[in-house]
């Protein structure tokens, strides 16, 4: 399971004190993971990288305002989710004519799902309505609880449950049709 924002971060003893050094250290430690997270929420790789850049720039601007520097990683995670939403919600798009990025490589860890089925499932997740897609990513990739997801997305826990139910029902149906 991917990190959920509690990784070693600026709270560690050896963490650099200047904001520039701190943000750089965080970038080197978390950049790839965050691009992975962003790529689950938007359709093209370039947008995912730009959202991650935006998140780190925003963190740098607000570094001195962080009450607790150890929350920086969680701040980045949330920035990615909000950045992706803002990208998708009206500002994204291009969705109808920019094909999803090719070249996403399968992982050996995912042997539980055969190749074609996994591709179909990945496509089905990408085609979910944005809010359902966010709930699926936060639940099954970041391993957040329903309460945490509700807080992140600013909705009720009941709403999270409904989105999760609809999403898994749609994915189940898609998988059954594929089979």
């Amino acid at each position: 399971m991917a990190g959920n924002g509690t990784d070693a971060g600026p709270g560690s003893d050896s963490f650099p004190t200047s904001s520039r050094a701190a943000v750089t250290a965080l970038f080197l430690a978390h950049h790839r993971r965050l691009v992975g997270l962003a790529s689950l929420l938007v359709d093209d790789h370039g947008s995912a990288e730009e959202i991650v850049q935006d998140a780190f720039e925003s963190l740098y601007k607000r570094w001195n305002g962080l009450r607790d520097p150890s929350t920086a990683v969680a701040y980045l995670d949330r920035s990615i989710v909000y950045g992706a939403r803002s990208w998708v919600r009206r500002r994204v798009t291009a969705r109808s004519f920019v094909p999803p990025e090719a070249g996403v490589l399968p992982s050996a860890e995912s042997a539980i799902v055969d190749g074609r089925r996994k591709e179909e499932l990945a496509l089905a997740i990408r085609e979910l309505p944005q809010r359902q897609r966010e709930v699926v990513v936060l639940r099954y990739y970041l391993d957040l609880s329903e309460e945490q997801i509700a807080t992140w997305l600013g909705v009720s826990t009941g709403s999270v449950k409904r989105h999760a139910f609809r999403a898994t029902a749609a994915l189940q149906k898609r998988m059954e049709a594929w089979a």
């Binding site: 399971m1 991917a2 943000v23 750089t24 970038f27 080197l28 950049h31 790839r32 993971r33 691009v35 992975g36 962003a38 689950l40 790789h45 995912a48 990288e49 730009e50 991650v52 850049q53 935006d54 998140a55 720039e57 925003s58 740098y60 601007k61 607000r62 909000y82 950045g83 803002s86 919600r89 009206r90 500002r91 994204v92 798009t93 291009a94 969705r95 109808s96 004519f97 990025e101 070249g103 996403v104 490589l105 399968p106 992982s107 860890e109 995912s110 539980i112 799902v113 996994k118 499932l121 990945a122 997740i125 699926v136 990513v137 099954y140 600013g154 909705v155 898994t168 994915l171 998988m175």
Partner: protein, 275 residues
């Protein structure tokens, strides 16, 4: 966790790992360094402007005290306009300076992003979708084509065209336009209006005029817009929130957005008559 959930988790991990493996962290780090350099330059500029303003204020106070005599206690000096923090875009073109509304400026969780075509602030503290804190404030250049014509690249870019496209969307029932008025923003003619997006329409807000254009959807938002005729180009400033926000929240957002418009300056500030 059932079989489907296990499959979802595995698929998401594989997708994320695949995307992570295709990114070049070294190259991206160089890009980030450039962006942070821009932030530092911007901060230094603000510091110098602040220092000069503070020095000027001190000189004025000293002169005032000497003029009034040492036995007179001067009235409190009201904050100078320069004490209000202005945001100056660094990557966005044209360069815009403005006073960001307090609910964004004072938020500890505001996330700002900027590139050459868009500068925006997202505020979600207290939870996106709840009250004024849920506001998604966006300032962007929308060099807009007709809606849903993403491949129709054209040099034509009149603000009237953008407004006409909104009106067509209104006629089609996709949105409603209210509170339309004429004003100036940064010395340029502008139309300010409110739109209530009633349908999700892919590319319904139009597409940028650029070789690598992005398109904008209509997506159940409520927006206060200023469509600025910037030398014949369409420059859109917007404050957006969810349609479900209360009328009081929307009114508050509109008021603060309209106030923000009065602070907008373009730098270098071109003469509207030059267009």
């Amino acid at each position: 966790m059932n079989e489907l959930e296990t499959a979802i988790t595995a698929t998401l991990q594989a997708e994320a790992e695949g995307a992570a493996m295709t990114t070049d962290t070294t190259h991206e780090h160089e890009i980030l360094n450039d962006r942070l350099d821009d932030v530092d330059r911007h901060r230094r500029r603000i510091t110098w402007v602040g220092a000069i303003a503070a020095a000027a204020a001190i000189v004025l106070v000293i002169v005032g005290v000497r003029t009034l005599g040492t036995s007179h206690i001067p009235e409190p000096v009201s904050p100078s306009p320069s004490s209000v923090p202005r945001h100056v875009t660094t990557a966005f073109r044209p360069t815009v300076s403005l006073v960001v509304p307090a609910w964004v400026r004072d938020s500890t969780s505001a996330i700002s992003t900027e590139n050459d075509r868009e500068a925006k602030w997202s505020v979600c503290d207290g939870g996106c979708g709840k009250g004024p804190s849920s506001v998604l404030a966006v300032i962007l250049v929308a060099s807009v084509l007709d809606p849903r014509s993403p491949t129709g690249y054209s040099a034509a870019n009149q603000p009237e065209k953008f407004l006409a496209s909104l009106q067509r969307s209104e006629a089609a029932g996709s949105l409603a336009i209210t509170d339309r008025s004429t004003t100036t923003v940064g010395g340029f003619p502008a139309i300010v209006l409110t739109i209530d997006e009633r349908r999700n329409v892919s590319n319904g807000f139009g597409c940028e005029i650029a070789p690598d254009q992005r398109c904008y959807d209509l997506s159940s938002d409520w927006d206060r817009l200023a469509v600025v005729d910037y030398h014949g180009s369409t420059l859109v400033l917007a404050a957006s929130t969810n349609r479900s926000a209360t009328d009081a929240v929307k009114a508050d957002i509109a008021a603060q957005f309209d106030q923000m418009l009065t602070t907008v300056r373009f730098d270098p500030r071109p003469s509207p008559s030059a267009s």
